[in-house]
């Protein structure tokens, strides 16, 4: 939401900051795997991939 924050508001938020949080909860097993699932990146490699040569272009 940073796009909403102008300089005055940013200063006001810094001044109104509250120290710390009362609670930090641990993830349960199901939540952990749900979260992990969001971050999984699928990578595929081909055997004979062509790479672009450097130094040869239109410019």
């Amino acid at each position: 939401m940073n796009n909403h924050i102008d300089h005055d508001l940013e200063q006001a938020l810094i001044q109104h900051e509250v120290d710390g949080r009362l609670h930090w909860f641990e993830l349960d097993r199901r939540d952990f795997f749900k979260m992990l699932g969001c971050g999984v990146v699928v990578c595929l490699c081909t055997r004979d991939a062509l790479s672009q040569e450097s130094g040869r272009g239109f410019w």
């Binding site: 939401m1 924050i5 109104h16 120290d19 609670h23 979260m35």
Partner: protein, 653 residues
């Protein structure tokens, strides 16, 4: 902020106006003052407006209701939206009737063509459709001098519901399947759980015990059973050694966090100016931690429907609490809805969603909606506090009363209001952040109360040192016309020039500028029995630009003055080794009816200036004015807030 009118205003077919804002009402009367401003620009009666406030699913995103920002930021936003909406309505009617928009007038929720005498309500014109148009860059705002609804004492919206007890605060809400939650609190701050036995609690029929790390809580069908279950839990905690009040101020000066330090404000050379000054002073002022003590404690009702969480809670920052909940439960913010019923005060103390997170955590485990209401002891212990602080001032002046040097160091309490409004050629002003031993956060006026106490007390000490009248000394060193005007207005009404101090009767003056508002406060105190300080009369002049609702503004100013009495005279959190020692109203002294002085308020109503907030600045002059009044009667200079927690000390400064 959204630029579409429809995000802010909707007009139904029956001409009811709904206004949407992420701001919240917590006793400061913005539900009324914002509605007045919309009514003024939209040309509708105030009674036709319903304000939807602080609902994260329905209102535009908002950073929160704090810092006296609603009047200067949300007021103009809604005025612009309403004026643009009026323009759109007139243009739509003109198009429909095939006449020039200039031939039409908008009043009382309808458009009229004076020539043809055609007339149509806004609702009939729009058929309940959205007002599809962007807010104009230069909307046709009504000049302040022409205000007819804004600027008048419109009665508080829903006022009757509050005074008759009909209003439902978060703690009053219920749900058919709801359970009552209670949290097992550690035996001290920064504690870790070393052993836990919940068997006895779990054996109570209907009780659910929740254990997640150091978080232990219970839920039951009624609060008495939940309380019984909580008492049945056996837990041991390890609490690390921590500071106490006794060593607080030395602790603060010894624990400055260099990494968060701002550059000091330096003009000229204080040391050089001091070497030439006729009068030199060096003093230290201190401020204890105090609690917000809102009448409505933190409370929340949380309900999960699948992975969607809905929480009703009294907070100043519904969108921040929504994000806090999303973060705590590792879900996206759009899965969380926070709704804020009008709240029983906050004073800067309800920025966080502690109770909301706790209720939601218990509800998640219980599989049912859970309501959690903090006790007064929890409120005094597990909320956060107004920062304590140490302020060192060195100053110098010439015999004629010209201040030549000003050095000001604030340790921990904060940078708000730290700059001096007086003309001083040589200045060094610096805020030193500290790792606070107690959890701290914002409080009404932030550090402006502490900084004004120190500065305006010290100004009095300087005036005394150069043998000048306190008011004359200030005016001699002050160019700001608006600040001069409130000093003059307050002094005139108070009868400053005719005051007759005695050993039992003292008079003080103080003032300042903060959050766009200018304030001057005169106080008269009586010393009873040589020890007890009674504030008998306060006159305060306040300038926040044009007044939007004089009744609401007077209430804000009066509330600020009365709340300021507590921090000035007797409020202080006592703590030792991670524990709060006075977590009850019976032990933590807040202002009572008997403490309230006669209060006279002067509203400057500067219609040539933009409107500013009034929630905080009216509080900042009280403590120094009272301290200065005590000095004028007794010769005792009190430099620590609270000033007389145990009555007037006998030792002279």
């Amino acid at each position: 902020m959204p630029k579409d009118i429809a995000a802010w205003i909707h007009i139904s077919e029956n001409n009811a106006v709904t206004v949407f804002t992420g701001k919240v009402e917590m006793g400061q009367n913005i539900r009324t003052s914002l509605a007045q401003q919309v009514a003024e620009e939209l040309h509708v009666p105030v009674a036709s407006i319903a304000m939807i406030m602080g609902d994260t699913d329905r209102t535009p995103w908002d950073a929160g209701t704090f810092g006296s920002r609603t009047t200067p930021t949300m007021g103009p936003q809604l005025r612009a939206a309403a004026a643009s909406a009026r323009d759109l309505l007139v243009a739509t009617a003109a198009q429909q009737w095939k006449v020039s928009p200039t031939a039409l007038s908008a009043a009382d929720g309808r458009i009229t063509d004076s020539k043809s005498r055609q007339s149509i309500t806004y609702g009939q014109l729009m058929h309940g459709q959205q007002l599809v148009k962007l807010i104009e860059s230069a909307p046709p705002l009504t000049p302040v001098v022409d205000w007819k609804i804004a600027g008048t004492p419109v009665p508080k919206v829903d006022g009757r519901a509050f005074v008759t007890g009909r209003h439902k605060y978060s703690a009053d809400l219920s749900h058919p399947d709801m359970l009552f939650g209670k949290v097992l609190r550690p035996s001290g701050f920064k504690a870790t759980l070393t052993s836990l036995d919940t068997k006895a609690a779990e054996s109570i029929p209907g009780v659910i015990v929740v254990h997640d790390g150091d978080f232990v809580a219970v839920a039951a069908a009624d609060s008495a059973t939940a309380e019984r279950a909580l008492r049945a839990i056996k837990a041991k905690w390890s609490v690390p050694p921590q500071p106490s009040n006794a060593d607080l101020f030395s602790y603060l000066k010894d624990h400055v966090t260099a990494s968060r330090r701002d550059e000091p404000h330096i003009v000229g050379s204080v040391d050089r100016a001091l070497s030439d000054a006729d009068v030199k002073l060096s003093q230290t002022y201190t401020v204890q931690y105090i609690a917000h003590a809102p009448l409505e404690p933190r409370a929340a009702l949380a309900e999960w429907q699948g992975d969607k969480l809905t929480v009703y809670t009294g907070t100043q920052r519904p969108f921040a609490v929504r994000d806090e909940l999303a973060d705590a439960f590792h879900i996206s913010s759009d899965k969380v809805r926070v709704l804020v019923p009008d709240t029983g005060s906050a004073y800067g103390g309800k920025h966080t969603g502690d109770a909301a997170v706790e209720a939601a955590r218990i509800a998640k485990a219980a599989g049912k909606p859970v309501k959690l209401v903090w006790t007064r002891e929890e409120e005094f212990t597990w909320a956060y506090f107004r920062p304590a602080g140490v302020i060192d001032i060195r100053s110098g002046a010439h015999k004629d009363g010209t201040i030549v040097a000003w050095e000001f160091h604030n340790y921990n309490s904060g940078p708000a209001g730290i700059g001096t409004p007086y003309n001083v050629a040589n200045q060094k002003i610096e805020f030193h952040p500290v790792d606070s031993p107690l959890r701290q956060g914002s409080y009404r006026s932030l550090a402006a109360a502490a900084n004004h106490f120190a500065r305006e007390s010290h100004m009095d000490e300087l005036a005394h040192a150069v043998a000048m009248d306190s008011l004359d000394f200030r005016l001699k060193n002050l160019d700001d016309d608006r600040l001069r005007a409130v000093f003059q207005a307050a002094a005139d009404k108070f009868g400053w020039r005719n005051r007759k101090p005695s050993a039992t009767r003292g008079f003080g003056i103080a003032g300042g500028f903060e959050k766009g508002g200018y304030v001057a406060t005169c106080a008269e105190v009586e010393i009873v029995g040589g020890q007890n300080v009674h504030i008998r009369r306060v006159v305060e002049a306040f300038d926040c630009g044009p007044v939007i609702n004089p009744n609401g503004l007077r209430n804000q100013i009066m509330g600020g003055i009365v709340q300021g009495i507590g921090g000035a005279l007797f409020e202080a959190i006592r703590f030792s080794n991670g524990r709060i020692l006075n977590p009850y109203f019976s032990e933590y002294r807040v202002p009572r009816f008997a403490d309230a002085p006669e209060i006279e308020i002067i509203l400057m109503d500067r219609r040539d200036k933009p409107p500013m907030g009034a929630g905080e600045t009216p509080l900042i002059g009280l403590a120094p004015a009272v301290g200065n009044a005590i000095f004028s009667a007794t010769g005792i200079r009190l430099r620590s807030l609270p000033m007389v927690p145990n009555g007037l000390p006998s030792k002279r400064a």
